[in-house]
Structure formats: structure tokens, C-alpha cells
């Protein structure tokens, strides 16, 4: 019996020696490896973390639930203390419910302290009308990532897409809304001051927050209804113009 047991142990040792080494599971949240400036975005509704699915967020007349918030930021420039601006060439696409897109690498800055950043909520006109197939597949503007954000031969990219549900008088029959803001003239410019970003070889995290609530009420009120639940930013569409007027109040610096 002892012999059998010893033989069994020996067999186990031999088999495990022949086995291939197992590879470790990939790190689910790998740390960035490049030096430079990273933009980390937090998505909120009236200051609280944005959650998905439930129709819980209050707007002017309706509670809403968000199913999809995706948007582009582009044209980043950082202001030195002497007032000059340094450009970084990044395009950033954030999809609020995909944590993997919360942090985006913007690029490197020359040595110095930077006090402000400006950028577009949207895609600059040149890139907006370039052939999206020319970008690599993993690029935010490349077709494999951007297909749901691109209007093909129409008007370029959707700059910001907000989709979800809103509560109607009948709680069993939620309405759906879909706001796709695009077109060159509906790009939104931001300049955020009060930065303390150091250029050079270090990793720097620039923290911002994107709050959905002002999209519906600041400064223009937009009440969701059977006739106001939808825009694709067609020329002359008043809903797109109203919502575009609110888009300058969504993003701010995290203290």
C-alpha cells in the first residue's frame, strides 16, 4: 500500500513537472506605463456618481436613467505661466459606463508649470471630415471604436451621445430619449483654469468631472416629452441648439 502511495506521489510530481507554466491573469486595471499627462474623468449626476439603468435622476419635469453617455474631447492645449499655450495632439473618447475609458493618455508636455487647459467637447473640423478608416483600429476616431459615433458620409462624428429613459405619467411606460450632438458648428469650447500640472517626464493625472445634470437645465431648460426626446443635430433642429447651449457647463476640474 505504501509502495502504491509513493508511486502516486511520484507520478504527481512528474506530471506537474511536465505541465506548462500557467500565465498569470491579466491585470484588470493596469497602471499606465507612459510618462506624460493623463486625463481621468469622473461621471456624475448632480454631484453623485452616475449609475446606469434605474430611472432615478431628476431633471426639470422627469426622472431619467442613463443608458449611454459617450463623447469626444479634442484639441487639448495647456497654458504655461507666461500665458503661452502648448498643444497635445490627443483625441479622447469617454464612454461613461466603460471604466476602461475613464483614464486617457493625452501626451507629454515640456518642462514647466501649466495653469490652464483648453479643449473641445467634440472633434475638430479637420478630423471630423477625414476618412475614419485611416485611423488605427484602436484609435478613438478609428472605425472599430467609433462606428456607433460616426455618421458615415453625413456630417462626421457624433460629438456627444446621451441616451436613456425618462419617466412619464405612466411609470410602466418609460419614454426613451436619444440626443446625438454633432456638426462642426455645434462643437463646444472649454477653458478650465486653476490647474497645477507639471510638464516633463513625470506622470501627471489631470482630474475632471463630467456632470450630466446641466445638460437638461443650465442655462436652458429642456423638458423631455413625446416631441422632445430626440435629436440628431439636423440643421434647424431647435432641440440640438438648446442642448448645445448647455454643453459648456458639463465639465469642470476636480479639486
Amino acid at each position: 500500500m505504501k509502495k502504491m502511495y509513493a508511486l502516486f506521489i511520484l507520478l504527481l510530481v512528474v506530471l506537474s513537472a511536465c505541465k506548462e507554466k500557467s500565465t498569470p491573469a491579466p491585470d484588470p486595471d493596469p497602471q499606465p506605463v507612459r510618462n506624460g499627462v493623463y486625463l481621468r474623468m469622473e461621471h456624475l449626476f448632480q454631484g453623485s456618481p452616475l449609475s446606469y439603468g434605474s430611472v432615478a435622476w431628476p431633471t426639470i419635469n422627469n426622472n431619467i436613467g442613463v443608458n449611454n453617455l459617450t463623447y469626444y474631447l479634442s484639441g487639448f492645449e495647456f497654458q504655461k505661466q507666461d500665458g503661452s499655450w502648448e498643444k497635445v495632439g490627443a483625441y479622447a473618447m469617454f464612454t461613461a459606463h466603460e471604466k476602461s475609458t475613464d483614464t486617457v493618455y493625452l501626451g507629454t508636455l515640456p518642462n514647466g508649470t501649466y495653469q490652464a487647459v483648453r479643449f473641445f467637447l467634440g472633434v475638430d473640423s479637420v478630423a471630423n471630415h477625414a476618412d475614419p478608416a485611416l485611423w488605427p483600429n484602436d484609435h478613438p476616431l478609428g472605425l472599430m471604436r467609433a462606428a456607433p459615433m460616426h455618421w458615415s458620409w453625413n456630417a462626421g462624428y457624433i460629438f456627444m451621445k446621451l441616451e436613456g429613459r425618462y419617466r412619464t405619467a405612466n411609470p410602466l411606460l418609460d419614454g426613451f430619449f436619444s440626443f446625438h450632438i454633432g456638426r462642426d458648428d455645434l462643437i463646444t469650447s472649454y477653458q478650465l483654469n486653476g490647474l497645477q500640472v507639471e510638464g516633463g517626464a513625470n506622470k501627471q493625472y489631470l482630474k475632471m468631472k463630467f456632470d450630466v445634470a446641466p445638460f437638461f437645465n443650465t442655462p436652458h431648460a429642456h423638458v423631455l416629452s413625446d416631441t422632445s426626446f430626440f435629436t440628431h443635430s439636423a440643421f434647424g433642429d431647435p432641440i440640438a441648439n438648446i442642448l448645445h447651449g448647455n454643453m459648456g457647463n458639463l465639465i469642470s476640474i476636480q479639486p
Binding site: A17, A133, M144, A147, S152, F177, G236
Partner: protein, 347 residues
Amino acid sequence: MACKPDSNNPPAKTYPPPTPYQWVQKPFFPPPVIRSDNALTVEGIELGRHLFYDTQLSGDGTQSCASCHNQALAFTDNGRRFSTGITGAIGTKNSMALFNLTWSSRFFWDGRVATLRQQVLLPIEDPIEMHDNLPNVVNKLKNSALYPDMFGKAFGDEEINAERMAKALEQFILSITSTDSKFDRYRINPVLNPLTASEQRGFDLFMREFSPAGSNRPKGADCFHCHGTHLFTVNNFTNNGLDANPATGFQIVTGNPLDRGKFKTPSLRNVALTAPYMHDGRFSTLEEVIDHYNSGLQASPTIDINLKSTGVGLGLTAQDKADLLAFLHTLSDTVYTNNPAYANPFR
């Protein structure tokens, strides 16, 4: 000692590394999506092509993948609504076209598998399709005169197993592209290869937003939201308003009731060849499909919001519909349907 190969067996035959496949990059198409653990090779694709057309992959040796995926019809099933398996059992979903899948993720109409290598093995074991089992199929291949050498050339040694079989099939299917339709030639050189006036008008309708009655915007059929990009699909899952009480669809993957009734949006390339239409093949003709979007939408809680926004329908006239149809025919690609690289190697 224990790890050494049995000295009574002849030494394993070794093969040179397979030849990397040279992808031909066509204008307006994205670069191919590389599956890094199954890079395309000439030998891997050729092995996959043989397996695709080999009836040994079915229980009684009468059916291959190609039995339900006919190249001449964009690899769909010969106009059938549902495919018939080796026992005569009839499936429940319409056979899907095969091309440009390097740019696709999630397979089957309901998206229930994430890779082609997973997808290709399921019909082999499905009792209402090819109705065999993988160990048996692998044994048949091992005992054939053809395959040990082909696996050796594709994978470096003659081992045959289900994973390698799936990877070879994946390579072949990923290599199938359709990039040479009339529309593609028009896009590359519209002066040399113009569309007719009707086709051009159909293209304009296809790519324009829906415009409600009374609007001063030009009329649009609003197809591009789901069938946009040069791939003619944005590779999403959509409830396109077929039923007021829709089938499960993508909900089977996510468990989310908001995904009920959503099915994979197919590319409209070669759509004139792939009748019947929809996941259940309910529409026999493209005219019926256009009529559905024009006036037959069924509201449900998860209907695509672009379709919902059309209200009572697109309001297309008979001429609009004819133009749209003319444009859809420009997406047929006979270079692809006649490409010998995709054809049956046993003929």
C-alpha cells in the same frame, strides 16, 4: 525521463513556420483586426477552407459548413428561411452571410459567442445541424490521408485537435472579404464608375436622416444609423421593430431586459444575394424589407429609438423605394462570390 517522448514512436515530423498571410488593404476599409493568438497564415487559411467544405465534419458525412453557406449567395443558405440538418431537422434562425468578419465581434444573430473559433464548432455538434461530436470528427481527420500534413503545415506539427480545427476555420472565415462591389468602384473613382441617377438618389436616401412630414429638410430613409460606415454595419445589436412582443435576442447574452428583441445588425453588402431577410427569414424580398421600415414597424419597449422617431413610418414613395432598392443592388460583389480562394477545394 518521464517527460521524454516514447522512444518506440518515430520522431515527430517537423514543419517550417507557416507563411504569414498578406492582407490587401482596400481604400475606405479599416485595417484588419488582428487576432494575435491566431494570426492568419496561408497554410492555416487553406486548411480552414478544406475543413469548411469537408462533409466529414457532419455525423453522416453528408453536410459541411458550405452546405448552408453557399459562396454564390454570399455564403447564405440558398434562399432558405431556415437550414435543414442531417437528420432533416429544421433550424430556427436564418443562415448568416460570411464576409468582412475580421471587423466583427460577437457571432450568431443573438451574439451568443464572442469569437469565430467558438462559433464554428457549435454547428458541428448541434443535433439539428451537422450532428457529430468533436472527438469523432478529430478522429476522422486523423485517419484521413489529407489532414495530418495540412495541420503540420499550418501549426508546425501534425497534431489534430478541436482547438486547431476551430482556429483553422476561423482563419479561413476571417480571410473572406467583400470589397469590390459597384459601390466600391464608385467610391474610388466616381467619374470612371458613376452610379445611375436612381442609384445615386437611393444612396442619398440611405445616408440621410429621416425627415418628418412637414419638415423642410430633404427626405431620408435613415438606414445609415445602423448600416453606416464603409462596412454597412456599425456592428451593434438592435431591435428593428419586427414584433410588438419581440424574441429574446441579445438579452440571452446580457440578461438585460433592455436588450430584448435586439439582434445583430448585418452588413448590407451583398444584401441582394442573401434573401430571405431578418434573423428568422420572415421577409422573402428586399421590397418587403423596405416596406417594413416604411410602414410596418411594431412598437415595443426596446425598439431602436431611431426607428421610433419615425413614428408612423418613413413616408417613402414608390419611386423612393425603387431608388433605394437600386442602390442596395450596387452593394453586390461578384468578385467575392466568384473568388476561387473561397471556393470548394474538393471540386
